[in-house]
Assembly symmetry: D2
């Protein structure tokens, strides 16, 4: 047992932190302004592509993909502290080509895709040339129980025909988003967890219609966005199926592990930044005759925040370690645990920072307001807390 | 001791609930659409004025003003359960001319204003012809300690000259908003709580400049809005001072009592609606083989929500009762208590409803997402939790 | 709606508080010492009977029994604030003949007993000559679901024969305890909630054996005590059945209402005393250069305690009001709510007081340690929290 | 970074767990019975010395002492998972000579003692021949701020004269307890943190008087016990001073690190056992038609317990790692964090287990009731939560 990061990780941390200071933080405001000043919000602010080029040049690119010669060769445990740093800014993950839902989708293609699928979709994604979305959640059913998913994927000759309505296909608002991975029911008569498949659907396929973009707590998250999409007799080549018919749940389990833990890593970074901002702020402001930083209640907020961040970080690192050593499947309890822990921890820490900032905390002058609603959303995305708790309890009760 | 509402209150409740069903709820969507379809968001959707006319006609108008022949003659205790009903919809309070910050401002003018001030500003406000804002919070200091307020109000002959920067002047985005009540320092050499005054500033006075509208968790709250305003050598007649120089804190104490309790009443209504929506939703959705409504965890959410709402409601009613019987000043502990309780309670109840709704809960398809961020904001507006707790503790320790 | 206590209640409050100051508090230490110095702990300290005589003389006796000419003629709503005062000292309720489980048992006998049963058991109980216990919980099943109860009550000629094992028959350690009300299954073939009966069992009946006294968190609660009792072919006259065969659940519902609310009232008094002790203590102790009372964190404890007590009190009063106006059965949601609220509130308030007292708080030098464990126990006694929450949710979902 | 225990640790874990199963758990009841059947509770149940002999023989002895040839040669990080196992039973730590306050005292003697002091006191302690207590807390001041300590240690020729009143000198009830380490003020004119010293006081020195044994939540914790002791002109040789005059705080900092972390390790073990007992119990009991283990609320308790234990364990392990790598002083933030985390975590986990057990949970039939009150006490012992939070915040604010 050893709690020290390797020299390699430490060196990456240093480079990333420097890149954040020099490139990303200064661009946060520019990003917002470029978006505000463009005729529509559904365009990519030029500063993003500039930052991507710099990150690629700096060798800070595709750090997420373990066990593959296509990534940087980092294990999950090595990537975790780096992903955390990216989570400090809402615009950072994309800069390093490490943003959701792309990393999860790329993992799916790398693990389960055919060579042809990789060539066509994985390579451009890894190059940051295109982006992708993931169409799983449906508006008409409780998607927390994924067996409820009703979208159909029906074989018809050399093609599959897809029909259904999805929402929260995040990233579909981006003009660079070219492809969706869609989950649907292909084998209704198979055992419950073998009825569903995942399939690749280019977004320009006839029958794919973005109905609307969904705001999240008032944010449109443009140009990324969260789309409600109808799939109306959408036909794709049979070769677009991933791994095989009925493999939907098997892939989901594989996909959601990395996707979930990446979210958790970023949340830790967000919480860490919130604490940092709070510490700075409370030293500057005076109320009732002394700096906020000398008031007992504020000090308790700082202490509790440090305690909660540190615990969540350690559990996340352990989950990453388990994924590396025993595999995503055996690590499922640890992944479920951090998926409950990290968003709730971030909500608490960021909430305290907002409170310490006063009204400024709910405005857009600081990233706190956005981070807070984002943490709240992540108590639902990739499975609501209560479904993960349910899974943890089942494993405990069965002695696993 | 008696927990039954009077017949008069029950009758009002019935009429208000019917009005909500028949007029307000159906207009919620229209309001959003009219705003969306207008060239700018800073206009009043026509449906609002239509509803106001109906409410006035129905005698559901200005129910908030106790101890005055200008209101409906209801005590705070009678108004509380009615205000709660208005809190069920974000657009409702204005329909009945009972929205913030206007009710607080109207109370100030009624209690402390001159006849001239009442004639000029109170009457149009009571008629719903104009709206008002309240300029207290400042960006540069911790305004939770109001003695920090730095805006200056300097006497110069027959005028006062106002200089300073305010933000969170809510409502200033509304084209009908004609006047601000501004808090500033007029007597820097007086004892600490007698240095500040409140003064009436017409928004079209030269030197008043709206710098920007502040979003709250991604919401612009248009057309109401939250303005950052600079007052640059703004000159108003000396007769615009309210009550007298140095009376700022005395008025604030009087003003904030009603303003705070109105927010609390509305939050209870919001929480009640969230619970109602949750109860309906969980009966409709099925996960893991049974309706959500039959799952133990969901049932616990419902029970805890009912418990928390009921307790917050009773405490709010008691605070209203105290205001009626012993006055706003003696009731300050009760007012401080509900100001802590109501937003935190609403946050918890609405949070559970969001969780029960899944991703739909964070979207704009239901009022939950907005209500939740609004409740969060109210942990800061009119004084942050920790300042109210501080006041409660001081009263407990001094045996008051 | 009116939050003022009646003059009658205020006068009783004043008399009770004076009695507590003059008689009960000074006797707390004497009670402990008399118990410590006696050869066995299962005797009644003489000071108790002395206090009872004084309370009877002062007309502070049997205040609990509403709707009966045998009590003081107080409604539940009037009794609530008085019972609260009694809850301020662990030894007080018995002084006024208002202690558990006797008040609940007396209510059962008064509401459902025959004249003969009243004559024989209710009158001596009302006179404070004997005490009683209630044998419901069983060690071998989850008694939170009372339909699990397995003790049998079998008719045999003019007698009933009782067989079973009960525990947590509180009060059975007291030498004055002469009678148990026992719940058992008499009609196994009836519908689920009509299978059980309650029956009166004199403790000196052959076959009744106290197996052991159960400690609670280290306390033996002598001489009251919590007994594990076996009923081994215990024969009582058929006339000892209460109300009739199969009425067990109907009585339980009637009995548990008052019993539960009395516990809640007392818990509010305990919490109030804990807050009072805490406020006094923090003014006296200095740490890190200033009195604890001036430290922000301590102030927050005080404020939160006041807030929580006040809310729990109002909800308890409302439940009492409902019992008086619509009956125990219709008031079941309110009773369930306070049964969840009051012990949890008391746990939090007393916990903070303990923390403020430091190590003294966990000792026997102050009543805090005992009160805290007692509040914890009351999250289980008369139904665990989760069963009450379940009931509340069911009522909410069914629209009741 | 590596989350796997070393082979050496794993082997020790296995041996310890087997020893617990074979020797300790079966003796729990015997220990209680031997104590109950002896004429006084202040004797050592014979089974304890029998177990100690077995543990010594098994090489499971003095595992706690790092960086010394007198212990087993284990680092804190290696000892942590073993100490956790000992924490699973209240009687276990002493069996392995790893109980409080002896381990802390032995560390003090090993780190700061003279050869003579080690010979006389450390060796018999390491042999398990005698036991010790630690006299720091005082009844008359807020000892959470140790600078408040008033006991005097005055040099008089070749002796020191000690005067003062201490309480919570835990372990002083044990007939084998021969020595106290006493903290007192020796240099009142020195800088604040150099005024105090620690000194060795044999308990049979004239003037040492045990005034009474303090119960903790109803438990006397015999024969260990918690003593209130007066030191009345107690004279000890000057050579009994530890390290030197004015070194009290320096030693305290060194002593309390290990002492605190040992408590935390044991609390994790206690929580783990509570969860284990809960999981077993809920499978066996049925309520409302299905096993408790299939009820959603219970499942949530299990999941949350697992999550909280796991996080606390990782943070404790990290703190141990820091002590090993950067020293107790630099690790002070981590030590403060776990000192807040572990007792609060244990309280929550054990509380849920109690609730799942129903009334059995508060009895002595299971170790839960004792464990819960013990965890509560540890929110005060070795510094209350709020003082540790204060320390953490100070370090955060200063950027350490």
């Amino acid at each position: 047992m050893d709690f020290a990061f390797s020299d390699r990780v430490k060196e990456y941390q240093e480079r990333l932190l420097r890149f954040m200071e020099e490139v990303v933080y200064p661009a946060e405001r520019i990003y917002v302004e470029q978006l505000r000043d463009s005729p529509t919000r559904w365009v990519v602010p030029p500063v993003m592509e500039e930052m991507k080029a710099k990150a690629k040049e700096a060798g800070l690119w595709n750090l997420f993909l373990p066990d593959s010669d296509k990534g940087a060769g980092l294990k999950n445990l090595e990537y975790a502290p780096l992903c955390e740093i990216m989570g400090r800014s809402p615009i950072a993950p994309e800069v390093f080509n490490c943003s959701a839902p792309d990393t999860g989708n790329m993992e799916v293609l790398e693990r389960y895709g055919t060579e042809e699928q990789k060539e066509k979709w994985l390579i451009p994604l890894l190059n940051g040339e295109i982006r992708s979305c993931f169409s799983m959640t449906e508006p008409d059913v409780a998607s927390s129980d994924a067996t409820n998913i009703q979208t159909t994927i029906r074989r018809d000759g050399d093609e599959y025909v897809i029909n259904g309505r999805k929402w929260w296909s995040s990233g579909a608002g981006d003009p660079r988003c070219k492809v969706a991975i869609v989950m649907g029911k292909s084998n209704p008569d198979a055992p419950k967890h073998q009825q569903h498949s995942m399939i690749i659907v280019p977004l320009d396929t006839p029958g794919v219609r973005i109905e609307r973009m969904l705001p999240v707590f008032g944010y449109d998250d443009a140009p990324h966005g969260h789309a409600e999409i109808t799939y109306d007799n959408v036909r794709v080549p049979a070769s677009n199926i991933i791994w095989g018919e009925g493999k939907g749940f098997a892939i989901a389990q594989g996909r959601l592990g990395p996707g979930r833990i990446h979210h958790c890593m970023r949340l830790i970074g967000a919480a860490e930044r919130a604490l940092e901002l709070m510490v700075r702020r409370v030293k500057e402001r005076v109320a009732f005759g002394k700096p906020l930083s000398e008031q007992g209640v504020i000090r308790e907020w700082i202490a509790d925040s440090r305690i909660e961040i540190e615990q969540a970080r350690l559990l996340t690192l352990k989950a990453a370690y388990m994924m590396d050593t025993v595999g995503n499947k055996v690590a499922k309890k640890e992944i479920a645990m951090i998926k409950v822990v990290a968003p709730n921890m971030a909500l608490k820490v960021i909430d305290r920072a907002i409170q310490a900032f006063g009204a400024a905390g709910v405005s857009e002058d600081f990233p706190l307001a956005f981070m807070w609603t984002n943490a709240r959303t992540l108590r639902l995305a990739d499975g609501p807390d209560e479904v993960h708790r349910r899974a943890i309890a089942r494993l405990e009760l069965s002695g696993e």
